[in-house]
Symmetry: C2
Subunit: 231 residues, 2 copies
């Protein structure tokens, strides 16, 4: 029944006329010209959301960190490396988009100093001082021209508690909470399970393919966005 | 003329009866379950060397860090993540191989402490203490059962000076020196240029495809190995 309803909603173009921006993949934070800090995000979830939003009739901009998967057709792909690159790309679209979905796994910290030359191995230990990166989704959600903003929380413990904290602290409209400690779902898997939280409700998605989850998420986002614009 | 000679050498199976181990790609050093430190190695050079050695008649073991390229057929692929994994895999083959080619870009340092849970963003800065990883190629070259050992040096400055220092300090038989500061060759390119150094000689390879360079390198390695076994 859900599948039928979902297909009908997509056929009717539930996001027609809207511009949706989605971020995807990891960021890479340079240590020197050769080395970097990154994370295990594959980009699959964000890319699936871009494709589902396009199928729902939206104009889609996909801001992507370095990944090895193919971009969906008929979306505007913007490739970035670092968290600061990703924020800059996001802010360029903030006034033209109605919905912003932050599926990227943005590095929280970056090395304070980026060496111009490859750092030579010398001592037995090396201290790397890291400073906080800008919070892309919080910056977008707290902007005066903020779109309807959906965040992701990849956690390994107390998943829903942390996610509800982020929903409130970052001024998000919705948050998708993932447990990345599970091997069967998450970063490098084609499957995912999640709990989506908003101010006065939540919905759980059992383990399913990322493509299926993306379509159901887009359906839920479109529904919540309609409520939001009625306020 | 060189191409003809090269083809003849390959037809005659210049490495027939030998076991060649080649390492390739980057290593990943975990910070926590989500984050890691890595480098821009694509694995292309090591994979091309594995294929060329196979074509020259060798039995080939390819010890590879995480890459996105396809492994050549008819080589024994062993996938590893960290520098310590790579060393362990290399030492398993040390007594059965005659030639060891260390094309991997092994992380010099790894985080001292690996968190069991995703580290929560807290302070404005974070100090990451890193300790030196084992040196895979030096450990192999200094082992009492050492094979003929070929290292790589990816540098961004004073390329040949650093490489000759590594040749001596690590007890290598040959070293392939790359200038990774050039955009047109190196880590993510299909092309490479290099200078190969040994105790009493050197040979330069101008910019060429990594497949072509791999075949010429294998030819040079086979020639130097023959000199080595005559000693």
């Amino acid at each position: 029944v859900l599948a039928t309803n979902c297909a009908e909603l997509f056929e009717s173009g539930i996001l027609a006329g809207l511009h949706l921006v989605v971020t995807a993949g990891p960021t890479r934070e340079a240590i020197d010209p050769v080395r970097y800090i990154s994370n295990h995000s594959s980009g699959k979830m964000g890319y699936a959301i871009a494709a589902a939003a396009r199928d729902a009739g939206a104009r889609v901009t996909l801001i992507s960190g370095p990944v090895t998967i193919q971009a969906p057709e008929r979306v505007n792909l913007e490739k970035v490396e670092s968290a600061r690159d990703m924020l800059e790309a996001a802010l360029e679209h903030i006034s033209s988009c109605q919905i912003f979905v932050a599926a990227a796994a943005v590095a929280d910290y970056r090395p304070l100093n980026v060496a111009n030359q490859k750092i030579k191995k010398s001592g037995d230990s090396m201290d790397l001082t890291m400073i906080k990166n800008p919070d892309v989704v919080a910056t977008v959600a707290q902007h005066e021209q903020r779109p309807f903003t959906v965040g992701f929380a990849a956690e390994t413990q107390a998943v829903e508690d942390y996610a509800r904290g982020k929903l409130e602290n970052k001024n998000l409209d919705m948050i998708v909470a993932n447990d990345v400690s599970r091997d069967d779902i998450g970063f490098n898997s084609d499957h995912n399970a999640a709990t989506v939280l908003w101010s006065d409700g939540q919905q759980s998605f059992d383990s399913m393919s990322k493509d299926t989850m993306a379509r159901q998420l887009i359906e839920l986002i479109a529904h919540r966005y309609q409520q939001y614009t009625k306020k």
